[in-house]
Amino acid sequence: VTERDQPADLVHHLALGNPAALEQAFDFYVERCNAVAYRVLGDEEAARDAVQEAFLALWRHREGLVVKTAGLLPWLIVVTRNAAIGIVRSEAWRTRREERAKRILTERTISDPADAVLRQREASCLHRALHALPPEQKTVVELAYFHFLTMAQIAEQTATPVGTVKRRVQLALRQLGKLLREVAP
């Protein structure tokens, strides 16, 4: 592994089990992953926990087909988000967030990370594409992606069977994928 190794080389070195490749991947992507986790959690310390979990998962799955096929950054972004969402859904996090909210209420208006996410999403052409999806697909993607609801929660909230919700997510992502390939073939 050298300082100039590109992500494709890193995937190769990771698959060989070279720890230096993990360190270099960390150097390349930690800031991006931290931003992803922070957008979900709104808390630096918790965001670092999520990022740490993602990189450990990367090491565990380093030989897997998905890392090789998706590429390091997409893989890390998705796994970091999932780790962060896992923290959001935990009981300990709910308690901590409630305590934090009470404390902040006495000082200033609460800044909801979800609001920040909603503002940020306007920046991307994919987010504009999201608005072009059929309303039922757009709704499930937004509830899952931006409000961190599980399939069961979305099914309950939209009074729709879980299978239908999953199918809508599937169709929505495939449609977004098509748009992505058109923008960057």
Binding site: P19, L65, K166
Partner: protein
């Protein structure tokens, strides 16, 4: 997961699949080319939904420095390493963490290791090694700046050179060595790379 979990793939990519199901899906896709391709595509789309902004929102002035990234990596050891080894490692690295030395990533990703403090008249060093001796990670401090050193080990009846390393302008060094698995009974750091050029600078035990 004996069948292709197609309906869960996109759900995973947008973060709506929970704990154990998510882990099972990743494990399945690691072994299944069909699902790997579908999942990889879904991950690329989902990752595309993330804004490009690299810095944390509202904490732009607190971007990780390289040093703090190293510290974060170092903290991983807490979750991986044996507690006794971790305590010793953390105490030892107290001073080194302020430097730009590499943290022992090898120690972070291999859960079975041990470590040895090398002592001598000048400087200090720590060697973290796999229990089977297949890799060693050396961290040294307070040696002669910008100098060549070598690490030696006693495995069987004879002494052999593990490898060489150089110190920086502050007399610090870190180096990672891989070798065939072997039982390590003693370690030493010597100036230069010749075993016959005087006694070791540092040694263990």
């Amino acid at each position: 997961m004996s069948v292709h979990p197609y309906e869960s793939i996109e759900t995973f990519a947008i973060g709506a699949l929970e704990g154990d199901d998510a882990r099972r899906l990743l494990q399945h896709a690691d072994q299944c080319p069909t699902c790997a391709i579908v999942l990889a595509e879904a991950m690329q789309v989902a990752a595309g939904l993330e804004p490009e902004q690299r810095r944390p929102i509202n904490v732009a002035s607190r971007v990780y420095s390289r040093a703090s990234r190293r510290r974060t990596l170092a903290s991983w050891a807490a979750g991986i390493a044996a507690a006794a080894a971790l305590v010793a490692l953390t105490l030892y690295n107290g001073d080194l963490r302020s430097s730009s030395l590499n943290v022992p990533v090898a120690a972070l990703v291999h859960s079975h290791f041990t470590h040895h403090a090398l002592r001598g008249t000048i400087g200090s060093a720590k060697v973290i090694q796999a229990l089977d001796g297949s890799w060693l990670y050396l961290i040294a401090d307070n040696l002669k700046p910008k100098s060549e050193y070598s690490l030696w080990e006693v495995g069987g009846a004879r002494q052999r050179e593990v490898g060489t390393f150089s110190t920086n302008s502050r007399g610090q060094a870190s180096a990672y060595f891989q070798q065939p698995a072997a039982k390590v009974r003693a370690l030493s750091v010597r100036a230069g790379n010749q075993v016959g050029t005087g006694g070791p600078e540092l040694c263990w035990p």
